[in-house]
Structures are given as C-alpha cells and as structure tokens.
C-alpha cells in the first residue's frame, strides 16, 4: 500500500495561534538568557554547592526524548514494521528537534557561551565525557538529516542502512549522556548502571512522546489512525517503563545494601523534596499508574487511557531526570568520615536547591523554539501521512 505524505496548509486560525504562542515563548526565553549573560549565572539561583540546575535537567530530558523518538522511527527502518512507516518521518524530525533542544539547554547553561563554538573543538579532550558527547550529538543530528532525506526520497536501501545506524547511535547518545553522571565522582552519580538506565528511560519517554504527538496530530488534522497501531506502542511503552523500574530498583537496592552508601541512599529516598518527586512523581505517577493502565486489558486498549499513561510517563521521566541531577549535587561529599564540620565559610552538609523563575523562563524559551520549528516543519515538509492503517490484522 502506497503511503502518501503531505505538509500542513498552515493557514488555519489554530495553527497561527500555536505559532504565535511558541514565538512568544522563544522571545521570553531569549530575553531571560540575555539577562543571565549580562548579569552572570548567579541570577539563576545556582550557587557553589549546586552548580547545575534546571537547564541541565532539561538538557538530559530532551536528549532522552530525542533518542527515544528515534527508536520509534526504527520500528519501520530497522525492524521492517511497515505499518509504522507513516510515523517514521515525524519521529526522525522530532528526534532532531529535541536534540537541538538539549544542545540549546546546555549552551544557555555555560558560563562563557561565546567560547562554546570554538574551544571544545580546538582543545578536544578525549578523556572527558563532556568532550565525547558533543561528537555523539552532532553525529546524531547529521544522521537525522540524512535519515530524513532518505525517507523523503523513498530510498529504501539507504533508509534501512541509516535507520540501523541511527538506532545504534541513539543508544550511544543516551549512554554517553548517562555516562556524564555515571562515570562521575559523586556518590549518587557514580554507577555503571546509569548509562543503561538512561537508555531505558529515554525509550520510555520517547515512545510516550510519540504516542502523544501522533494521536494529537491525527486528531487535530482529522486523519485516520488505526487504534491497533497505538495499542501496540502502548504495550511497548509498558515494557519500557517496567525496565525503568527494574533499573531503579537495582540501583537503589545496591546503595541501600552497601554500608558506605547507605547514608546517601537514605538521603536519596527519604531526604527532602527530591524524595517526594522520586516516590510520587516518578514511581507512582510516572511508573505504577501508567503500567496499571497499559497492562490492564480494558484500559490498555483504550486510546484515551494510553494517551493519559503516555502523559504520565513523560512527566515521570522528567522527575527521574531531576532526581538524578539535583540530589547528586545536594548530597555532600564526605571529606572527613566520622568527624563533624562545626564551622565553614561555605554551606556544608546537605544543600538545598529551588528552581528559579529565570530558569523556568529559559526552559520555556527552549521549548518555544523547538515548538516553533516543529510547527514550521509541518508546514514546510511532507511529514504527516494522509492516514495510518494497520497492514497485518494479526499484529
């Protein structure tokens, strides 16, 4: 069956309103970033004890969404599931946009943005995960561009080759991002399991994002979408979430079991607002409820319920990113075991971190830019299929 793709007309009132909102968000974010450049990073609320904040959380989150979206495109390109071909173009395009979002978040978090485009390439450090990752990210974007071109030109062999490369690359991209933390010196970061658990969370959030996006787009633009296609994705999402839960369980069980890490484990699981985000945001809202919805026969076959579960997973993985980045910083390194620091010129012990308004504006800005580019892509390129039907009724 020949699948036809088309671009959006883009003349509707809703489309224009959406683009104006995204443009407004972008301008707000750019102004916030200009303010940060002008005054210094201290205005974002980050400080000596917590030198990374929301921008890094969002960067890791976006990169995960990107890697996960690319995996969905691989259903057609790598595994030959032809019924998912209608979503391949949009999945690759979204993967590219979210990687750009991740890079924008990292860029706006640098103390000297003016040096970012030169120094990392001139003074490359092969030993640093921060040096290796930009190569993975740039490669990811280039692969996405070639992949899109292959899809647009309907080049079957090239699509298969580049899809396989993209699939593997997406794993490397997110493993690399996980390694920034996992190979670090902080007690709550250091874990060889972290790159793998990053990939699992990326696949969960990427799949959830694609479900949400596909269902919404098809509904708004009044296109036919066979429920079975989304139901299968829902099942896949449920398994991804299960894997995420497994990794979380192993990691935390290890920390709780090893005596020298127990203190940090207790802080992570029961030590403050981040613990609430872990238990309520990630475990309950982001994992248990979605799994309940998706594994249950009745709700697992309802598109509305699947969309709800996907939204919860997207929120849950955002919480997961937060509880990886922030508690790892607020938990202090123990310089003098068995002794207590009674006076210090800097904050000792457990530190605190609150997301500032400026950080939120910066994050909104990045989202706005990506949203705008997404809308523009729908208008300029033939990303949307005319319909998405199941090919094999026994799927």
């Amino acid at each position: 069956m020949e699948i036809k793709f088309e671009s959006l007309d883009g003349s509707s009132f809703e489309y224009r309103v959406m683009m104006i909102i995204f443009a407004f968000f972008s301008v707000v974010g750019l102004l916030a970033t200009w303010w940060v450049i002008e005054k210094g990073i201290w205005v974002t609320g980050m400080y000596t004890r917590v030198p990374w904040g929301l921008q890094i959380v969002m960067a890791v989150y976006y990169i995960g969404l990107s890697a996960g979206s690319l995996v969905i495109s691989g259903l057609y390109g790598v595994f030959g599931k032809a019924e998912y071909k209608p979503f391949a173009r949009i999945a690759v395009y979204v993967a590219m946009l979210f990687l750009i979002a991740g890079l924008l978040s990292i860029l706006t978090d640098q103390g000297r943005m003016d040096r970012v485009f030169v120094e990392p390439f001139v003074h490359f450090n092969l030993q640093s995960m921060f040096s290796i990752n930009p190569i993975l990210y740039i490669g990811h974007i280039l692969i996405c561009i070639v992949y899109l071109w292959a899809l647009f030109c309907e080049k079957k062999t090239l699509t298969k080759v580049i899809a396989t490369l993209a699939f593997g690359w997406a794993f490397c991209v997110h493993s690399g991002t996980g390694a920034i933390f996992g190979f670090g010196a902080r007690v709550l970061y250091e874990s060889p399991l972290l790159p793998a658990s990053f990939v699992a969370a990326a696949m969960a959030s990427g799949t959830a994002l694609m479900i949400l996006l596909i269902v919404t787009l098809f509904k708004i633009t009044k296109r036919h979408l066979d429920d079975e296609l989304i139901i299968w994705l829902g099942r896949f999402l449920a398994i991804c979430v299960l894997v995420v839960v497994y990794f979380l369980a192993v990691e935390n069980a290890y920390r709780a079991y090893v005596v020298e890490l127990r203190h940090a484990a207790v802080y992570y699981l029961f030590g403050g607002i981040h613990s609430l985000l872990f238990w309520i945001g990630l475990i309950f809202i982001g994992c248990i409820i979605p799994m309940f919805i998706l594994f249950r026969k009745k709700t697992g076959k309802s598109i509305r319920w699947i969309v709800l579960a996907s939204s919860l997973v997207i929120f849950g993985v955002l919480c997961e990113r937060y509880v990886i980045v922030i508690p790892g910083l607020t938990n202090p390194p123990e310089l003098f075991p068995g002794m207590e620091i009674t006076f210090s010129a800097i904050q000792e012990g457990f530190a605190s971190y609150t997301i500032s308004f400026l950080e939120v504006l910066q994050a909104v800005g990045v989202f706005g830019i990506i949203g705008f580019l997404f809308g523009l892509g729908l208008k300029l390129f033939k990303l949307l299929p005319t319909e998405a039907r199941i090919l094999d009724p026994n799927i």
Binding site: R112, H123, A185
Partner: protein, 246 residues
C-alpha cells in the same frame, strides 16, 4: 602526471605537512605532555604540608593574603563567594570526649586530577611541575570540574567582583571555574605562594611548600618522616597536599 604519481605527490605532501606541524607544536610545547628541554618546570613536583598543630584558630592571614594576591571574588555571600583557600572547624568525637581543630582546605593539586580529566576544553590541566591550573581564557564555564572534584575545592565565578585589590594580577571575570593555583606565578619567580608567606610572616609557619622531588626540601623530609595524611586517599587521585595532625 599519471594517477600513481599524483598519489605519491599528494601523500608525500600530506605526510610532510602534518609531521611538520606536529614537530613545531611539540617544540613550542603546545601539545600537552611535550617538554622543552630547558623548561624550569621539568623535574619538579610541588607539594604542600599543612601542620594543623601550628594553625591558630582565629588567624585568617593565609585566607586574606590569597584573596588579595589573586583578586579572588569575595562578595560576603556564602552562596557565591570564591575560596581558593578556606578554613573549617572540625570536631572529632570518641565516646563522650570531643576535640576540635582548624583545618585549611584548598585544591589538592592531585597527581591524577579528576577536574583536568573531565575538562572538555583542557582549560584545567596539570603543569609539568605538578601544579593544577585553570586557563581562564579558555574555560567555557561548564562546571563539570566542580562536579568531578571530590574535595569541593573548585569554585565558579558566578558574578563579577567590582573592586580589584591587586592590580599586578589579572581581574577575575565571571563565568569561569577557579581554584588555587599554588600561586604558580610566584613559584615561577622563585617566590613562595601568598598563603605560605603570610602564614610564615605571622610567625606560625603552618603551611609549607616545596619540591617533593628534592629530598633535601623541608616538605619532602616531613612527608618521608612524619605521619602525614591526605584527604580521601582511597580515591587514587594522589593529592599533593599533606596534613600533619589531622
């Protein structure tokens, strides 16, 4: 010219060009690890010994001297103050008895510095003489070195400091990472770091700096003979700041 000749000439040109560039860079020392034969840094390994028994509780001579010498950003706000060197009070308890002591903390100038390993632009690097320094003109301000340092010894210049105490030294600009550089500019001139000099001037001499490769230096003698301790030795970073009486 046939194809064979073309490849010969092209290959030879590329080989000569790259090896020439490499040789020039190596000779001028722009490749990390390369050495210039008569470099004053070669063969030295600077280390520090801090004798806590000589450190007076309320004395801030070393802190003040460092702050003045290096124009360290001090805003009187613990969130954003930069401390190339700082002092803490440490209480240790055994049963019901407890003792307190002042401890000076600074960059440990590790032999295997995690901060330098993670720096994506090699702005943080270890000199041949073992001093870990930051090139402030290269740092992009990613703060990964702060995450990697297990001693909380690295700081970020979150905001500009308006007043500029020592006009002989560069002003610190915001947006880059910082840490103690053992007053490398003074060491290169054969002088002592500002903190060591200040501590000595107030008559305590609790901080000592010397070449650990020179067995006759006071620092080397203490490290060899006394029960010195380093922070978090188990990490394998091999700090070069040794404590007496910790």
């Amino acid at each position: 010219m046939d194809r064979r000749d073309f490849f010969k000439i092209a290959g030879g040109t590329i080989l000569a060009g790259t090896s020439g560039v490499y040789a020039i860079r190596r000779l001028t020392g722009s490749i990390p690890g390369s050495t210039v034969a008569d470099s004053p840094l070669t063969g030295k390994k600077w280390g520090m010994v801090i004798d806590l028994s000589k450190c007076v509780e309320d004395c801030t001579a070393c802190l003040d001297a460092c702050r003045y010498e290096n124009n360290v950003a001090f805003h009187q706000d613990e969130r954003w103050d930069v401390h190339w060197i700082r002092k803490i009070r440490l209480e240790s308890k055994i049963g019901t008895t407890s003792t307190e002591k002042s401890v000076i903390l600074l960059c440990n100038h590790c032999e295997k510095p995690p901060c330098a390993q993670v720096c994506p632009v090699q702005a943080t690097y270890k000199r041949e003489d073992g001093i870990v320094v930051v090139d402030h003109h290269r740092c992009i301000g990613c703060r990964y070195c702060m995450i990697a340092c297990p001693y909380n010894a690295r700081y970020f210049n979150f905001k500009d400091k308006e007043d500029w105490s020592n006009t002989d030294r560069p002003k610190r600009s915001h947006g880059v990472a910082e840490a103690c550089n053992l007053c490398a500019h003074r060491i290169d001139l054969g002088e002592l770091p500002a903190c060591v000099e200040a501590c000595s001037n107030v008559g305590e001499g609790a901080i000592m700096v010397g070449d650990m490769n020179d067995s006759g230096s006071e620092v080397a003698k203490i490290i060899m003979a006394e029960a010195v301790k380093r922070l978090k030795e188990d990490l394998g970073t091999e700090p070069k700041v040794y404590y007496l009486g910790l």
